[in-house]
Symmetry: C2
Subunit: 167 residues, 2 copies
């Protein structure tokens, strides 16, 4: 097994292991009407996220999850192995879009692709990696796209590894 494949399995990829075009797939997350309503009650208490009847009369034509709920589930799927970065996923920001509502019964997964790798100009121990994350439901519809910039550390090079490289 190559070092990179091994590191990916252990959830410990570093800047040096990443390549533009590399892809990752998360596990899955099933969403219920109860969870949609509970998230909305706390963070986005609007009728179309809280009540089936009112939602059916709204622009959503049925109960829909808050976009921020879809975003939060996407993060959970990335943390649970969808984006196996060594020191954790630290985002500085990104562009988000919800082309389609997330519905009760949807089973979500996240497909991630490395779009750009930019070593830091001021901090040689890290870089900024742009990832594109598509959150899809079980019908393969895209419910969210997220183009995110994340901070990724370089792997610390062990002493004898440096010696080997110098040879």
């Amino acid at each position: 097994m190559s070092k990179v494949v091994e590191a990916e399995k252990n959830g410990s990829l570093y800047l040096d292991d990443l390549r533009v075009g590399q892809r990752f797939t998360s596990g899955s997350h099933a969403l219920s009407a109860d969870r949609i309503k509970a998230f909305a009650a706390e963070f986005d208490p609007q009728p179309f996220h809280l009540d089936e009847v009112l939602a059916s009369q709204s622009v959503f034509k049925g109960l829909a999850a808050s976009g921020w709920h879809t975003a939060a589930i996407t993060m959970r799927l990335l943390v649970d192995g969808g984006m196996p970065i060594g020191d954790g996923i630290v985002g500085v920001g990104g562009e988000i879009a919800w082309p389609r509502p997330t519905r009760p019964g949807d089973v979500l997964r996240v497909e991630t692709e490395i779009m750009e790798i930019a070593p830091s100009r001021t901090r040689p121990d890290r870089g900024i990696v742009t990832i594109r994350c598509e959150t899809r439901n079980h019908k393969d519809d895209i419910v969210q796209t997220l183009l995110a910039k994340v901070v990724v550390p370089r792997r610390t090079v062990p002493a004898n590894d440096s010696i080997e490289r110098a040879l």
Copy 2:
């Protein structure tokens, strides 16, 4: 009281009531370490969002809220009067950034400005409004910026209002 001021107080502004440069301020939301950890346990279970000691050794140098928690609180503040749109706040997407971590004890508020108003080309009953939302803590530091596109319906013009306008 002007019609627009009255509509703003009732949380019922429509496309016709909005002007570029118009500004709104939300109420406030105090964030505790317990809430930061509870959100993280569900949606972003990484050490720097869950444990003070591990967080102090991380890039955050102390417990920090998940960016998606800050985003969700921002939405709650907008829904609770920070962005008083008549038929609810329906976002199609946007650009988000977290220039600084949100910490336990932070009291957050959202300052919103209307940046652009684009009537829909295909649906005459609505438009897309670009809003810039700055989420600030009690020290006035910006912890999140969000440039969001939201769908805003036109006000239905009552019959005698039309007559007055025609005169």
